[in-house]
Symmetry: D2
Subunit: 378 residues, 4 copies
């Protein structure tokens, strides 16, 4: 690192698990004079967004677009469907699951929290056990409505396959700043008919998050209050870009970069936080450092020396791991460049590791492309 330089050189490797690197096309679409949010041009823009976002969630129902980050959409999912004292079954998979539990408490709900060690996913069997327990089942039956299934796709939407309708989800929460390649400031609720029905009897107070007014106004291409016009300009373009690439190609690319990243980590001889391959994330990989090495210090060194940012660590393993994002508008060369920066930073930091991580990633990518080429030729 030059001694007296006050400039971070070249393009920043933003490898946090979202917000993701913004495509120039999205940024430029947002860098446009603002238009009247009650005029005819806006109505066209809103329609592109409201129609387009359904194809991303794979739903034929309306999707609510909020001017708020993902946390807001989570709150919206809860206040639109539940009443004070209602029970919510949640699974402790990590930091955000924990935050959602606290949110549910603050809103006057009663979360049941299936505890976990932050290193695995939501176990369907455990969830089934819980649901069979007397009190929850009973309450559900008494209320005459079955439990609603809510899924947080903030970190995975538009990066891995997701099908709101086909999978019978009631409320899907999504955010803009991940696979949708937008800045933070927009989030979504995809809604089933069952959720819409539940909203009618829900008693939690709500106004900003209320679905009903949104649905009414959206029908004519407008919003009940001033929407984030520039975010909508970006959204229309990002949806267009995803379809130009082809959603299945988008998913295959994320899967490829995720596996390449994990192979690099293993080749370095470092441990992946997630214990079970079944629960591997297609968008982020958390890497445990050997005992005695501070992950925050490593992140700082990598930022200074190689202009790269990683996701921070939280909870029981705070400061022991860093997270490498592999999502958004990222291609093979870029991701390998990020892995190379990481391998070089590990070297510079004197953190014990084996070389060869980048090589393992490249080998996997070449094989994946060759396979694709072969499959296409057959």
């Amino acid at each position: 690192m030059p001694q007296n330089s006050s400039r971070a050189v070249g393009r920043h490797f933003l490898q946090i698990p979202g917000p993701t690197p913004l495509p120039d096309r999205v940024l430029r679409a947002m860098d446009t004079p603002i238009i009247d949010h009650r005029g005819p041009e806006f109505a066209k823009l809103a329609k592109r967004c409201l129609d387009g976002i359904k194809t991303i969630f794979k739903t034929s129902n309306p999707v609510i677009i909020y001017t708020a980050t993902g946390t807001g959409a989570w709150e919206a999912a809860l206040v639109n469907t539940l009443s004070a004292g209602d029970r919510v079954l949640m699974v402790e998979t990590g930091q955000f699951a924990t935050l959602w539990k606290v949110m549910a408490q603050k809103l006057g709900l009663r979360p049941e929290f299936i505890s976990g060690d932050w290193r695995t996913g939501a176990d369907a069997a455990k969830i089934e056990d819980y649901l069979r327990k007397e009190p929850i089942r009973k309450a559900i039956d008494a209320a005459g409505h079955p439990a609603l299934l809510m899924v947080d796709t903030i970190s995975s939407l538009a990066s891995t396959d997701y099908r709101h309708d086909e999978w019978g989800v009631d409320v899907t929460i999504g955010g803009a700043q991940k696979g949708l390649m937008l800045p933070p400031g927009m989030s979504f609720n995809a809604i089933s008919d069952k959720a819409l029905a539940a909203a009618k009897s829900s008693k939690l107070p709500k106004s900003f998050w209320a679905w009903d007014e949104m649905l009414t106004m959206n029908k004519i291409g407008f919003f009940p209050y001033t929407p984030a016009t520039q975010m909508l300009q970006g959204l229309a373009v990002s949806i267009e870009m995803l379809h130009e690439e082809g959603l299945d190609n988008v998913f295959a690319r994320h899967a490829r970069l995720a596996e390449a990243t994990r192979r690099a980590v293993r080749a370095w001889g470092l441990e992946i936080l997630c214990r079970d391959p079944k629960y591997y994330s297609p968008t982020v990989t958390a890497v445990l450092l050997p005992d005695g090495h501070d992950a925050d210090a490593f992140r700082n060194l990598a930022l200074d020396a190689f202009n790269i940012s990683y996701g921070a660590s939280f909870g029981p393993y705070a400061k022991r791991y860093f997270r490498i994002g592999h999502l958004g508008d990222v291609n093979d060369g870029w991701q390998v460049g990020a892995l190379a920066s990481t391998e070089m930073a590990l070297g510079l930091a004197g953190i014990p590791h084996k070389k060869g991580g980048v090589q393992a990633a490249m080998d996997y990518i070449v094989a994946a492309h060759s396979g694709g080429a072969r499959a296409a030729a057959e």
Copy 2:
């Protein structure tokens, strides 16, 4: 209008009362690669914003920055300070006052609504009368806390003088897309010590809007959940621009353009919706059309012929008036260009009016500048 043109020519006259025309400098500041919202560069950006926004509200207390439009900040003001069943005294000054009343009801509060005809402002004497009435006073006394004063400055902040601390306001609600010259998607709560104290006993459920976590995280330059990074990039620059111009100059400019606009309206022989000069807005002027003329049709004609947008009409006078904005990063020539487009559109639409509105506006502006020059010379 050319018959077969599919392009709106030249710069659009966005004369709605917000969002306002975005300065290029703000747009370009937002058109920048996204940064890690937990990194050192972000902390510097957050500090610029959190410190800077205080100078706009003229408060030494912290100001909460929400990723949401103004409606969200209104909800925040209520849920942070009140409990179910609390009474809220509101004054029917127009469309938004009416919306806030509905919001309060939805949140489980009990609004007292001082009725009005949408053509005047909040009458201090009437408010005093209400507050003296037995039940409210009694409830307030019983609760042991005096009423909180909340002010919605969404349409006037950074356009006319406002002093949160000096004027003893408890919660001030502000938005980004007006005098702050930003896109919609950000709003504010400036808070008094009394409001902070009230927040401790408030019982309305809240999570996304909760002040406490925001205040805690903001202290170290971060946010409890992903903030709208690009909006903050824009905010830092817009605050800088306001101070470069000088806040008092900003206010004088808005006052000048507002008066120039009203003089044009009067010269046309048309009626200003607001009956009492005491309540004239420094940022928008609503113009009543003669009976039998549809304001929406006029707005459409003006948009087609002169590429200009006006604010729509609402409520009891819907379709009878249009609103001319005069706020944001707008100079004399621009505002007169907008008034000229209006006078020409009135002509083209065949709406009865007198010529000379633009001349009246120009005469006023020249006099205002000459006065300033004279004052400076003395």
Copy 3:
């Protein structure tokens, strides 16, 4: 003007006769990652530009695109067709005609200069007289080739009708920063078959400006040396915009704004520099100030007070006039805003004039629109 403001407020009225206000769409098209100027994406871009620019000059022959401002394209026209000592007949219509004469001299040519007073256009009869004079005619005949007709359209291209082929022009010189709504940095030579033939015998040394290599490389979508990629990105979009509006609509708009401007000047009681309406420019109007008033001082005052720039004065009338541009991506409201700024600045400067210029401009514009509507209805 506020006393201590360090910021020019609002949008600058760039009323110089080019460069013209750049449309956001053009600027954003240029604000894009650079591409390989020898790759397939570039070839597509080059084709859009090379094909498109022909429709602007109305020629079926190739048009040469130079990375240079208009002065360069003028030099190119001369060095590609002429040899040392060749005679060039030029007409002194103003500043640029005078510059071209000096250029011809520097390049070793012998310009015949039909003198003028900078206040009228090129008189066809005078030109005919000159061409009939013995020595020129003789030289032309001796050389076996008739005189080539070269036209400088830098200030008028894409603003008023121009037909390279139909009008039998041999070399047309054009520039990017006027009606094409681009930044300066690109210029053009449209070429007749006769000019191409003349190029074969031309002996002036040339390399950068040489047509032959350009024509060869352009055929396959490339350039003999690195072209200004971003300018081409902008050019492709500006041509698209002109056709979306419709070239005839573009011309009608310029004619309307030009006449509106002249009516304003006359209503002010000021004199238009150009003496003969036959030679009025569709893109700029020079305004003489009353004796004793310094046009440069007026321009400075207007810039400070109203954020407006005018074209400077040159030659025999230097400091006695300023020039108001009315070209590029400018609509009615904008131009009237510029005229209003001018009328207000005249007032502030204490320059004797009558009010009513803006009113006259508006009256004309309304009539022009009404006429258009009437014509369309018939």
Copy 4:
């Protein structure tokens, strides 16, 4: 590569040896409303550029800024200093040396061309031999002025150390689209006093390229004809960025990335076109493919599969090599990402090579950073 994708994913690896990847800061500085090129704001901008560019060439004399790409600046160097029939000694180092020879011929000069095989640099001893030969020396003496030394730094300026004054160069030719990180469209002549003196007796016709008028107008902050305003906006910022990083840091970075690239090539077992390490370029490395492999086919495959562009091949080795750029605003991770894309593309193309190139590059970079850290600590 997905079969039906119509979108190039992620950031393009533009590894041609210029234009180089444009920093966002430069692009945004150019994405700004155009200003009056004869107004006070422009004069400030011009001063920043005219002063700043001297620090890049390391000269205290003025530097001429042309609105033209490098080829234009080469022509300018010749026409300003020479007369028809003058001799020019040139060395055949590669494609551009050959182009300059042709240019000299077209301009009526008589180039002496020291032949070469495009795989080595300019040999000082051979140049000395030539200069000692009778006819040249004699002509030089007869003319009473010694040979002028002209250096083309287009590909190396602002990437490796260069000192116009200290090294006694008479005319230095530079371009914008390489180390200066700008788009193509601007080029430079740095000039010695001897060159200025030679310009007085030079007889080649010139107008656009003439130094004298440029020097006169630049003194007061303006240009003799409309300059490329937006390019100047970019230039002011790019100079600022180079100094923020520190020129020596810029040079060290380029040297590091160049050596890392060469180590990768050697590890792959491929041959570097340049035979002699003494002549290695700090900005580009040409890589010979094994016999029987078409470099153009390889470049196409790499572009499709990995969104990367390389420099094309020319001359005697056309289609046998491709060129990897390592210049401009490029950091370690980016360059390694480009090398990784190359190694993966070699694999996908079935071109015989050894793995380990990327590893070799990383090892070198880590060592270079460690050395720097050590050196700083001592």
